[in-house]
């Protein structure tokens, strides 16, 4: 029998059901991010963004409150060594 190491995610909530952003919404988000792209590059972003948006929306959203992020801090002595 195949042994499984997969633990069910604590919640199955995702953002998959949200409608894809429209080109105008993508333009607005880019403006809010402070990007000033020439029109051909903005067109590229409008073309490429939906794949990334779908990816991000597949991430699980209802984690246990104590689920920590990875790589969120660095030991203080390491910072001191950088400044040596």
């Amino acid at each position: 029998m195949t042994r499984s190491y997969v633990k069910p995610e604590p919640g199955t909530q995702t953002l998959k059901d949200l409608p894809p952003s429209t080109p105008d919404e993508i333009r607005r988000m880019a403006a809010q991010a402070g990007l000033k792209l020439p029109p051909p590059l903005m067109d590229e972003l409008i073309k490429s963004y939906p794949a990334f948006e779908a990816m991000v929306r597949r991430l699980p959203r209802a984690r246990l409150k104590f689920d920590e992020p990875a790589n969120h801090c660095v030991a203080i002595e390491r910072i001191e060594r950088l400044e040596k």
Binding site: S4, L37, L41, L45, S48, V56, L59, R63, P69
Partner: protein, 478 residues
């Protein structure tokens, strides 16, 4: 397909051009060949094939000859070190003092760093002979792009085919016999994929084992530097030279040095291998020649005494979504200034893979980081029961060069990515050829800092097979 085990080549002596690091070390010490002669021979070979393979961004002939002469003196005086006289190349995201370091990008077209990256400093201290800076994808991501100042590297196994992901110049150069070793970087598989597609060995070490100091960032929390060689033994030698703590890399880990050669020949009797088949033959469908080659490779290891059992982990797409969300966010932050001031100077592929990072919300990035820890714990649980995990090295053999395929953004997921998520060491090893004659690869991974065990398993496999002794001819055109 020739996926059956074939007996190890009996001669043991290869043409000098394909001599391994271990063979060169022995021949230098016996006086059979000299570093200067080897470097000159290799540059002659570079001259023959570079115009078709495009492995180099910069050739460092003067540096190489000076270091080769110094190596000869050290060998004469009996002061030789681990890599004295061994030629190598560096992926062109690794800083070299006084030598052009471009990231293969117009953004850094004339960038001459003042200091060496820590990994280059270690290669130099070990006596290595730098022959050049090697082709990559822009900032080790995105490509291949045909709109950069330098052309993409090509695969020596077949004309018009790509060497694989971003350590493409290192992969092609080592496979083509231009260099016995190279240093690549691996953020989601960028050492292992070209190793797979070029028929060589590529090791992604444990995150934190080899310093990233002075290496142009792709994704801070995934980036690693590692060896690309033709044998597992050579990877062990090179890792021994480059592993170690560095104050200058905030993620560098302090550990006692390890002699990676000490247990290399201990074999795999009793080693427990968890076989993750569903990643390549379930969640995703690999090329039809891949699965039989991987299964045959595991049979070789089982015949050598390993215990192989099939296991299940999260789907590849789950790992990929988590990794890519983190990657594009961190990459955009690294190159944000340039995206705001000169976005048109990035190549099409990098731009389109990273620009979306500007639209990732903070909560999305943190949800991905939280999932990353959950997935890393899943892998750690598996490594409590198994010494080694095994799966395919890549889903396909090398693919034809098709410029600027914007629709190839996210699918299919990389089979190499899970071990970047978890930070464990993972190594690709040649395990056969497709019906077209293109290399196939087995991927082995081990628990954090268990590189020595990984080398043992890989070396046992190479002692029982001869895939690693075969060299390309078809893609080598002058």
């Amino acid at each position: 397909m020739s996926a059956k085990v074939s007996p190890r080549a009996a001669s043991g002596v290869q043409p000098a051009i394909y001599a391994t690091v271990a063979q060169l070390r022995a021949r230098y010490r016996s006086g059979e060949v000299s570093p200067v002669d080897v470097v000159q021979d290799l540059f002659k070979r570079v001259d023959r094939y570079e115009s078709s393979l495009h492995c180099f961004v910069t050739q460092t002939r003067d540096v190489a000859m000076a270091r080769a002469r110094a190596a000869e003196a050290q060998l004469r005086e009996g002061t030789a070190s681990t890599l004295t006289g061994i030629p190598y190349g560096l992926k062109d995201v690794i800083n070299t003092a006084g030598i052009l370091t471009t990231g293969q990008s117009k953004i850094l077209e004339r960038n001459i760093p003042a200091e060496d990256a820590a990994v280059e400093a270690r290669m130099q201290t070990a006596g290595g002979v730098l022959m050049g800076k090697l082709t990559t994808y822009e900032f080790a991501h995105g490509g291949p792009s045909w709109d950069l100042p330098w052309p993409p590297a090509m695969n020596p196994w077949k004309v018009g085919y790509l060497p694989g992901s971003t350590s493409s110049g290192p992969g092609a150069a080592v496979a083509a016999g231009l260099l016995p070793a190279a240093i690549g970087t691996d953020t989601g598989g960028s050492i292992r994929m070209p190793a797979a597609n070029c028929g060589i060995v590529g090791l992604k070490p444990t995150y934190g084992l080899v310093s990233r100091g002075g290496v142009l960032p792709n994704t801070f929390t995934f980036d690693t530097c590692g060896p690309m060689t033709r044998t597992v033994e050579d990877a062990a030698i090179v890792l021994g030279a480059i592993a170690g703590y560095d104050d200058g890399d905030i993620t560098s880990v302090e550990r006692a040095p390890v002699d990676y050669l000490r247990d290399l020949a201990r074999g795999v009797r009793g080693v427990r291998i968890g076989w993750v088949r569903h990643w390549y033959d379930g969640d995703e469908r690999c090329h039809p020649d891949v699965a039989p080659a991987v299964e045959q490779a595991l049979k070789v290891l089982a015949d050598a005494g390993a215990i192989v059992e099939e296991i299940r982990l999260s789907d590849l797409l789950v790992y990929q979504d988590c990794k890519t969300t983190i990657s594009i966010t961190e990459m955009f932050s690294a190159y944000e200034h340039e995206f705001r001031t000169r976005p048109q100077d990035f190549g099409l592929m990098f731009r389109n893979k990273v620009l979306a990072g500007s639209l990732i919300r903070a909560e999305d990035y943190f949800q991905a980081l939280r999932q990353r820890l959950s997935l890393a714990r899943e892998l750690t649980r598996a490594f409590k029961d198994y010494d080694v995990l095994a799966t395919a090295g890549w889903m396909t053999p090398a693919e034809p060069a098709q410029p600027d395929q914007l629709d190839k953004f996210l699918r299919p997921p990389n089979i190499t990515t899970p071990f970047n998520i978890g930070g464990q060491p993972a190594m690709n090893i040649p395990c056969g050829f497709s019906r077209e004659g293109l290399p196939l690869s087995l991927q082995l991974a081990a628990a954090h800092f268990a590189e020595a065990l990984l080398f043992r398993a890989g070396h046992a496999y190479q002692m029982a097979t001869d895939w690693h002794t075969r060299h390309p001819t078809e893609g080598l055109i002058q």
